[in-house]
Amino acid sequence: MRELLGLPILASEQGARIDLTLALIHALMAALFLGWAAFYLYCLYRYRRSRNPIPNTMGARSHLSTYAEFAVAAVMATILIGFSIPIWSQRVEDFPDEKDATVVHVIAKQFAWICHYAGPDGQFGARDPSLIDAANTIGLDRGGAGKDDVVIEQLHLPVGKPAILKLTSMDVIHCLYLPEMRVKQDVIPGSEIPIWFTPALTTEEFRARKQAEGLSEGTDPAMVNFQIACAQLCGVAHYSMVRTLVVHTPEGYEDWMRKEQEFLAAEAAAGEYEFEEETP
């Protein structure tokens, strides 16, 4: 079904329902279009001038098209009430408890995605606009709770655990787009918009799946990754506002976080925080 529609590989728990909705609508569309086209082509053939020199000015007498319209309206109403509204409501209302989720502040700016983690203490450090400079792009206060915060232009998540991303923008409107997670959300300056989903495939599994489907031909398998893209025109380098999403096993995530902490400790010892650029 997914392959038939040509959707990207699915890697979140919530995405299946979206894919199902897409499949249902497209089935309806195909049925409508083919039915319509058959009638249309038949008319063109049957009622061409040479075959039918005398028009029947009464035209069609059947009410079939009216019934068809009612049927289509009924199917659409079913998809709306049975699928679209519940999916939406789950997406914007049924947030998991933050205690049971990986919470990340994702900050969009021209042309980067900056992910801000609370670190082991579970407390996000304060952000102060006056601290913003070329190195500290989000103005994180490294004193207090910000001491162990990880700031990185990559998104790292453990598999199978809900992730809550709190999205903000520092400049223009961006749009967070995780194609395989079926996640897309505008990021609007002046407001913080939360979004949630549960990754269902680790990056390793994803690479294997991709190879199995023959979608990563010609690329080094180790370079295949989930990506965060920007879906809303945000300026001259909009097309390149792409960063990496890494989905770890739960243990792998812990390892990653530990390495980041070691890294931070080394920086703190050196007396200066380097706000990390993208690391492979």
Partner: protein
């Protein structure tokens, strides 16, 4: 009504120098047919420009980073190239301007300005538009808007580059002046649409021929009527939004800037407190009805051509009409389906999903009716019919692909992907554009007396059909695969889309071939104008009134007012495919001096080609004694009103939408605002504003008195009261100016806070309205009052209309005063 001697007038005009006659007839004509042709030619040129832009963009998508062909480089210009390849910033400019040009300068002016202008008066049996000079002004405003848009390419930093949707803060922060030009251009185009739509509605309501009841109107006219209402009511909120964005760019206000924006590491020096989403609401409030502006006239054209070439009445004409009306109404409450991903709650998204699915029903009704109309017909496959027939499945695809976008859940994946682009291009390109081509082939004999070549027509149709699909179907595939729109690299940096990148070259090749496929069309136009087969007045055997008008076309359209006796599509009468009953026949031309029309003087056929040959017997555009339009002064019995009165109310309806949009913005900003709102509101000069309120109310009273004096036939006292009205208006403006000066001297500029921003914007716009009223009243006091001696009834009418406007301006202030000064 003035009765001048027609014979004398003819000689008078013929004595004018040739050059001036040329200007009057072809350039500054008020004849709807000439204006229609002007619109058509200009719009087609713009379509070519907009298409050219995308052909360059497609090179960047097909061959990322590789230089354009040498000959193309010289067209694109060094400014836009980096070692021969299109720069990303230029790609964004071309993209933004492609959308803007195609929608606002190409399709709408062609569908409404050209086809509507040329055909609506003819189809309703009117001598011209209700307001011929407004019609001319509408064209010139359109041209000015187009020139401003195109001129922006030559600015140092080029044209607007933030998409045709111009979302702030990106658009308001866009460097250079391109975006400012874009905003000015949009305001000019909105003005043009406003003048046009008032004219269309008034013409259809007031100038329908005798016997042309509502349910006898051709579907095309219904489509244009609904379209005109959409333009009238939907454009003002965009103008409001444009004014706000212009203020953000020029006066440093923060309507669309929230607090705390950073550009890189630099904090943006604005007061903040605005809302980026405010723009999107105002924009889509226009732009969704705009979609129906793009499609309704096309449906109208296709309906006419299908009825004509199946030789039978349209199936379900009445349901089509009601569907079109319902469509128009619904199109105002679906706009936020463009905004599902802006953090929308369940209930609001459910509302907009439901309205969006509901609006699909009338579109389905119209298209189904057109398809079912084929049943039982005796179908003639000529070029116009081929294009009209192709419209149906192509629009069908476009409509169907709207369904997954209408549902918020499936929109999550498809939003802002190429699927969206494929969807609306199917509607607008092989949909609307094919309908417009069909219309050109179909009505070409009406304006030129010649038919276009069928062979070249088919040579145009077949490749266009193939290559349109070659461009747009892969967009659906790429979009489903997750490639976003507006990507300079066409998705090359998306790992998930690598296997879909091969389509880019295929689509680009299709686009270039589509360009070549337009050559037969251009050749056909040029060749058929001079050497096309000459045909009789009604070559297609059509029923509607425009084909009953004489050829060559005459100024005033019909030698005598036509009388309509039946519905629009009585084809195939008596079981004969060729037979038809014309809707109405113009009675033999009895000289009817009271209608002010002189009998037609057919001018020689050859030579002029497509350009109609209006007979210069009525002194067009010279003020007095111009084309006498029925019901300019006398009330039309069945509608109970005169043209100017209907016109001014329509104008005021659009003004209500304009100020309504600004008041809504006020509410939104106030809800978001902090403490400085109240502080700044408290510093307004309440006594002065109260004084001004009294001044303005008094001026409304003197305005009424001025009009009453005309009813009493006392010009002297009229002058007195009119003079007083103007004086009071000037006092208001001076007091306002004083108030502004006082604010500025205390450093209270629009950029200080959102309150001051909306205060200056609202009162400034209102002040401009007052100034406009003073100028109009000044004209009616001075040179305009000469009309009193020749046509007192008409003059009284004008004063009454000016009065209605003046009271409205007064009323706006009565809303503004408590909102700004008392509530704060």
């Amino acid at each position: 009504m003035p009765q001048s001697e027609p014979v004398e007038r003819v000689t008078q005009i013929q004595r004018r120098p040739l050059a001036r006659r040329f200007l009057r007839q072809y350039l500054f004509s008020t004849d709807h047919k000439t204006i229609g042709i002007q619109y058509g030619v200009t719009a087609m040129l713009f379509l070519l420009v907009g298409f050219g832009l995308v052909l360059v963009m497609r090179w960047a998508l097909a061959y990322p980073g590789s230089p354009l062909p040498e000959w193309a480089q010289s067209w694109v210009g060094d400014k836009n190239l980096q070692s021969g390849a299109l720069k990303p910033e230029s790609y964004n400019q071309f993209g933004a301007m492609h959308g803007t040009i195609m929608v606002f300068l190409g399709i709408v002016p062609l569908a409404v300005g050209a086809f509507g202008n040329y055909l609506v008066p003819l189809m309703v049996g009117a001598p011209d538009m209700a307001f011929p000079r407004l019609n001319m002004a509408s064209y010139w405003a359109f041209l000015a808007g187009g020139v401003v848009m195109l001129a922006s390419f030559f600015l140092p930093l080029g044209a607007a580059n933030s998409g045709w949707t111009a979302y702030p803060p990106l658009a308001s922060l866009s460097p250079g002046s391109g975006q400012t030009y874009w905003l000015v251009g949009i305001v000019l185009l909105a003005t043009s649409s406003l003048l046009g739509s008032i004219n269309f509605i008034t013409t259809i309501v007031q100038l329908r021929a005798k016997g042309l009841a509502w349910m006898r109107l051709p579907f095309f006219v219904w489509a244009q009527l609904v379209t005109a209402f959409l333009l009238l009511l939907a454009f003002p909120p965009l103008v409001a939004a444009g004014v706000l964005q212009l203020m953000d760019r020029v006066a440093g206000t923060s309507f669309f800037y929230p607090s705390g924006l950073f550009l890189g590491a630099e904090q943006l020096a604005v007061s903040g407190g605005g809302s980026p989403l405010l723009w999107q609401h105002l924009f889509w409030f226009l732009a969704h009805p705009e979609v129906y502006v793009l499609i309704l006239p096309a449906m109208g054209i296709v309906a006419e051509i299908i009825a004509n070439n199946t030789r039978k009445p349209l199936w379900g004409y009445r349901s089509m009409v009601f569907a079109a009306l319902f469509l128009g109404f619904m199109s105002f409450i679906v706009w936020a389906h463009h905004m599902y991903l802006t953090d929308m709650g369940t209930s609001i998204s459910a509302f907009f999903q439901a309205t969006t699915l509901i609006i699909s029903i009338p579109s389905v009704i119209v298209v189904s009716a057109l398809v079912v109309s084929l049943w039982g017909g005796s179908i003639r496959f000529n070029t116009p019919m081929l294009f009209a027939l192709a419209f149906l499945p192509m629009f069908g695809l476009g409509g169907l692909t709207g369904l997954p976008l209408a549902l918020a859940a499936s929109d999550i994946h498809l939003h802002d992907t190429l699927y969206v682009i494929g969807h609306f291009h199917y509607i607008v390109a092989p949909g609307t554009l094919f309908a417009l081509f069909a219309g050109v082939y179909y009505w070409f004999p009406k304006l030129s007396g010649r038919r276009m070549s069928e062979w070249l027509g088919i040579l145009h149709f077949v490749p266009s059909f193939v290559f349109m699909n070659g461009i747009f179907f892969p967009m659906l595939i790429q979009g489903m695969g997750g490639i976003s729109r507006r990507l300079y690299d066409g998705g090359a940096s998306y790992q998930h889309a690598q296997h879909l990148l091969g389509w880019n070259e295929f689509m680009s090749q299709s686009a270039w071939w589509l360009g070549l496929a337009q050559i037969p069309f251009l050749l056909n136009l040029a060749w058929s104008l001079v050497a096309g087969k000459r045909v009789a007045e009604n070559p297609w055997g059509a029923t509607t009134l425009e084909w009953s008008a004489p050829w060559p076309p005459i100024h005033g359209n019909f030698p005598a007012p036509p009388v309509v006796e039946r519905g629009p599509y009585e084809y195939g009468v008596g079981g004969d495919a060729a037979a038809f009953s014309p809707q109405g026949l113009a009675p033999a031309p009895p000289p009817q001096p009271s209608a002010g029309l002189t009998p037609p003087q057919p001018s020689p056929r050859g030579g002029e080609g497509a350009i109609s040959t209006p007979l210069p017997v009525h002194g067009e555009g010279s003020g007095e004694g111009e084309e006498p339009i029925p019901h300019t002064v006398t009330i039309r019995p069945d509608t109970g009103t005169t043209n100017p009165k209907l016109g001014i109310w329509l104008f005021l309806a659009s003004e209500i939408m304009l100020f309504g949009a600004l008041f809504s913005s006020y509410v939104l900003l106030r809800v978001n605002a902090g403490a400085e709102w109240g502080e700044h509101a408290a510093r307004l000069n309440l006594p002065l504003a109260t004084f001004n309120t009294a001044i303005l109310i008094t001026s409304s009273i003197t305005m009424v008195y001025a009009w009453l004096q005309l009813l009493l036939k006392d010009l002297g006292r009229y002058r007195l009261y009119m003079g007083l009205t103007i004086l009071l208006g000037l006092v208001f403006l001076v007091a306002k100016g004083f108030e502004y000066g006082e604010k500025f001297s205390h450093g209270l500029h629009p950029s200080e806070s959102t309150f001051l921003a909306i205060y200056f914007t609202l009162t400034g716009l209102h002040g401009l309205h007052v100034l406009g009223g003073v100028l109009v009243n000044g004209f009616l006091l001075g040179p305009g009052s000469r009309l009193w001696t020749t046509a007192p009834a008409r003059f009284t009418n004008r004063v009454e209309i000016a009065g209605v406007y003046w009271h409205f301006v007064d009323l706006v202030w009565i809303f503004l005063f408590p909102t700004l000064y008392l509530l704060g």
